[in-house]
Amino acid sequence: MIEALLANYEEAVAVILFVIGLSMLLFQRNLIRKIIGMNIMDTGCFLFLASMGYIAGRKAPIIADGAADASRYINPVPAGLVLTGIVVSVSVTAVMLSLSVRLYRRYHTLNLDEVYQMARDHQEDR
């Protein structure tokens, strides 16, 4: 068990990061911390992907000296996925941060418990 974890330490760290991020997203009451948690969660996924695509002793798949032999290069697909994932993560973060700005302007706090309390107090029913 321990040996298996040590042999795959990158994946293990990735899963730990994912769980840290997930629990922050779930249990933190501050919106900014939740957003940070989300980013940590995504980072865990990206580490998992990146470590999956790396093969020790091989190079980045850029044909430099004319050698198109696939066995010399690492798998480029996971790197592509990580890049795509980062773009998605950045845009989601941007939207979340702009939402936080709007929430703060309205309720003057980022603590969600307080915001819910305030919303319950002035129950505006259409």
Binding site: M38, M41, M52, P78, V88, V92, L99, S100, A119, R126
Partner: protein, 501 residues
């Protein structure tokens, strides 16, 4: 290669380009443009539907001509085309019929941005329906989440911001789990395209490596379950659907959750393979959660104090039906689930177009005491609400009845007494509860109000009223079509399923 084969990709690209284009137009022009675009998309999807029915097979569009294990693919069959046609029609009706409330709820200067979001959403919807690549699915899943968040906050009141924050947090949770599941599945199989993935998955099952497979699939299922409102993750629904403007509510309740469920269905059916999926424990859990959701959603709906919360909670029950169908694991069960996707999209969109109008003639309130007699004050809305409510309850002639019948038949066909008992009990309980709250509301909107209720507070241009009536009539027509000629749609779904895997 026939030109029709380009249509699926074109629907995605056209919507994406239009999304950018709409930011440059004025609000009115953007709306007109969106309506024309959506009509065009419906025609294109209809052409694909006719083409696939005639040819009897699905076709794969290989992007950049990189063949199967590499590259990115779009695949279109009868089922995908049918979904696209129906959901786009609902979207068009939502945009047309909700226009009046958009004028009230969203600032005039931001209308073009709103339609930009609608087009972005359309692109994501199309991509999720057509794509054959699981990571493309993830990307457009996030695009859809972002677009729907924008659609919620378009109505700038405090409640929508709060609803959007809650919605986004849950959706990010769902996307995170989905992404991890996809990454693990890629790790296990080495493929992102669904068809080669299914081959690798069946090899894995033969080797007995079911545990990691089940784990990654569970991640995907929970992720998409959270996003689509599966029991017990449905508590975000009332705030999100209830507070946003009519068009957004239609899009969120009828289309967004359906797109997620369709993606899940595609992953289970095509990337995992129906045989493998049926043998996994996830199937039984989906059945259980579906049955529980049917009851719990209805109970929450009964306990809610206002019209829009009730309608929103009833979505949770209806989503439960769909998951129950997926959980049955037979062809009949899948057919019933897919039929329910369409039936619910058609019915719930009509409800969400109609409730704001009932509230508008009740002093802008959705509370049950206030809407009393609103069906007399707004006669057209009263009729359409009654139609949708009867369909939800499952009165014959309407779509809801056909869906329930398909579920019951599918359950009996499994031949397992416990499953039959559970499904029948759930259908019975859910129908009785539906009667309780929907028929009660229908009676209430036609009851004599205690005092003469307020008249329509805003002058309504005739054109907008006509747009609402036409959209609601189209949705009613679709509802009757699904109800009276359910065999047409069910046969199409069956034909689609046979070429889906």
């Amino acid at each position: 290669m026939e030109f029709v084969r380009n249509f699926p990709l074109l629907t995605i690209i056209l919507s994406l380009v239009s999304s950018v284009l709409c930011t440059l137009l004025s609000g009115r022009a953007a709306k007109r443009y969106t309506v024309i675009l959506e009509t065009l998309l419906i025609l294109m999807a209809g052409a694909v539907l006719a083409y696939t029915i005639r040819s009897g097979t699905s076709f794969t569009y290989v992007m950049g001509e990189f063949p199967a294990p590499w590259g990115n693919e779009i695949r279109a069959g009868v089922l995908e085309a049918l979904m696209a046609v129906m959901l786009l029609t609902v979207l068009l009706c939502g945009v047309q019929g909700g226009w009046r409330f958009l004028e009230l709820d969203v600032e005039q200067s931001k209308h073009n941005l709103y339609f930009s979001l609608v087009n972005l959403f359309t692109a994501a919807l199309m991509a999720l329906i057509w794509t054959n690549d699981i990571f493309t699915g993830y990307v457009f899943l996030e695009i859809m989440t972002l677009a729907s968040c924008g659609l919620i906050v378009a109505r700038e009141i405090g409640r929508t911001t709060l609803a959007a924050v809650r919605y986004m947090i849950l959706n990010l949770l769902g996307s995170g789990l989905f992404l991890l599941g996809v990454v693990m599945l890629y790790n296990l199989t080495g493929h992102l395209l669904m068809v080669p993935m299914a081959g690798a998955v069946s090899e894995l099952v033969e080797e007995g490596a079911q545990m990691p497979l089940t784990f990654s699939l569970a991640m995907i299922t929970i992720g998409l379950g959270i996003k689509s409102g599966m029991f017990p993750f449905y508590f975000w629904m009332p705030d999100t659907y209830g507070a946003s403007t009519a068009t957004s509510a239609v899009i969120l309740s009828s289309l967004v959750s359906k797109a997620y469920i369709f993606l899940l269905f595609k992953i289970l059916f095509r990337a995992i393979g129906a045989e493998v999926y049926v043998a996994l424990p996830i199937r039984a859990i989906l059945l259980l959660l579906g049955v529980l959701g049917m009851a719990a959603g209805s109970v929450s709906a009964i306990r809610s104090g206002s019209l829009n919360r009730m309608v929103a909670y009833s979505s949770a029950a209806q989503i439960g039906y769909i998951f129950m169908g997926l959980g049955l694991g037979t062809e009949a069960g899948f057919t019933a689930a897919l039929f329910q996707i369409l039936a619910h999209a058609v019915t719930k969109s009509l409800l969400f177009l109609t409730t704001p109008r009932l509230s508008l003639v009740s002093g802008d309130s959705m509370l049950f005491q206030r809407i009393q007699g609103s069906g007399r004050r707004a006669k057209d809305a009263g009729v359409f609400f009654t139609v949708a409510a009867l369909s939800m309850v499952g009165i014959p002639v309407f779509a809801g009845f056909s869906a329930k019948l398909l579920f019951a038949v599918a359950a009996v066909e499994t031949g397992r007494p416990w499953v039959i008992l559970a499904v029948m009990a759930a259908l019975g309980v859910s129908s009785v509860l539906n009667v309780l709250y929907f028929i009660r509301t229908v009676i209430r909107i036609y009851a004599k109000p205690q005092d003469a209720g307020p008249e329509e507070p805003y002058p309504v241009p005739k054109e907008l009223r006509r747009q609402y009536r036409v959209s609601a009539a189209v949705l009613t027509g679709l509802n009757l079509f699904l109800g009276l000629f359910s065999w047409v749609t069910a046969n199409l779904i069956r034909q689609g399923l046979s070429m889906f895997g």
